[in-house]
């Protein structure tokens, strides 16, 4: 350990509920790799493209008409902050994928603004992932990914793509923005899979 700055604590606190190397925060830090896109719900749409080239599209109204879930989860950012007991509202990917015919194993998520992230398709299933449009009872703010973001809380939060616009289902894995920049391809916080080779 290096030079210690006497009296400096930072924001974080340690806790047993934390994955290794994480610190609890009560804020909701905004991390951005680019300009914040402002997408109105009128122009918003969400697509799922299968490996066979079939496209499924939802408008904002379509999304609102689907059964909603209210996940209560802890989230873990690879920059070392974790936030406990966050409350979201959204549509489970199980609902969206219900009528989608696919034998693909991988998913590449893309966002308004050009961001991408990849994960195995099974990590989007069985109540593990949502298209979230509200946080703490309020519409999701643009800086936090509104109108809608992916929420996959069991992986580091960079997988929970803000401003989500679509998912491509693929036979071959295709690494996304941070995954090609040095971050771990899977990103399990409990195994501290932060960087390539972790």
């Amino acid at each position: 350990m290096s030079v210690i700055s006497q009296g400096f604590q930072g924001r974080g606190r340690r806790d047993d509920r934390l994955p290794p190397g994480q610190y609890e925060t009560h804020d909701f830090p905004v991390l951005s790799a680019g300009p914040t896109p402002y997408i109105s719900v009128d122009e918003w749409q969400f697509t799922i493209d299968t490996e066979d080239g079939a496209r499924h599209t939802w408008s904002w109204q379509d999304l609102m008409a689907l059964p909603k879930s209210t996940p209560h989860v802890d989230i873990h950012c690879v920059t070392r902050w974790s936030k406990f007991d966050t409350d979201w509202e959204g549509v489970s990917l199980d609902v969206l994928l219900e009528d989608v015919e696919s034998a693909a194993e991988y998913a590449l998520v893309s966002s308004y603004g050009g961001y991408t992230t990849n994960l195995p398709l099974e990590d989007l299933l069985d109540g593990k992932a949502w298209i979230a449009y509200a946080f703490d009872g309020r519409p999701l703010a643009p800086e936090h990914g509104g109108p809608a973001r992916l929420l996959v809380p069991h992986l580091y939060f960079w997988k929970s793509a803000k401003w989500v616009r679509g998912i491509r289902l693929l036979d071959q894995d295709e690494p996304g923005f941070w995954e090609t920049a040095g971050y771990h391809n899977y990103g399990d916080p409990w195994h501290e899979q932060r960087y390539w080779g972790d």
Partner: protein, 237 residues
Amino acid sequence: MAPAALLQRLTWLPAVIAEARAETPQARTLVLDVPGWPGHRAGQHVDVRLTAGDGYQAVRSYSLASAPGEQPAITVARVADGEVSPYLVDVARPGDRVEIRGPVGGYFVWEPAMPYRPVLLVGGGSGVVPLRSILRHHRQSADPTPMRLVYSVRAPELVIYREELQAEHLVYTRTTPPGWPRPAGHIDQGLLREVAWPPVDSPLAYVCGPTAFVEHLSGALLDLGYRAGDIRTERYG
């Protein structure tokens, strides 16, 4: 650049806070003892790294406030709810240790040897810090380049380096001193037309402060006729 000096800039150097001086109720200057400090250019910055007892680290950039040849010093303004600035303004004491990477930044610098061109410095809030280094350097080197500073600050009690900047153009955005000729407000075209060097003199501008301030001011200078390539910016975020 000498190899030793180069190595200095590549790694984190231990530094000790030698002196802490309140500038205003919100800002404090910290003079740093950095063994092997290679010297800096006016306008450069350092990255400061703090490590907590449990290993948690945070890094932020701070402009160098002192002139070249003087001991490195930074001036930090407290950002409410900030992680690092409240520590540097309120908690850190002489003798406490931090780590430094720098001096760095070869772009937002001014040197007396530059060809004769009038220089306009525009600072918003703590964005005045590197401009103060440039002004001090300009005075100490008795350089003939015409140079003036426009400093935008919220209120009279928040003016940092007050004594040194008395002769410069202060613009108050919220409250003014009693009897101040200009009502409180942001720097606008009218004011720039009064105080900025006219574009025909091929002036060079240095604009520094919060990102929104820098965007606003570089836009205003472009509108005034300044060339994009002659406006250097340092956005603080």
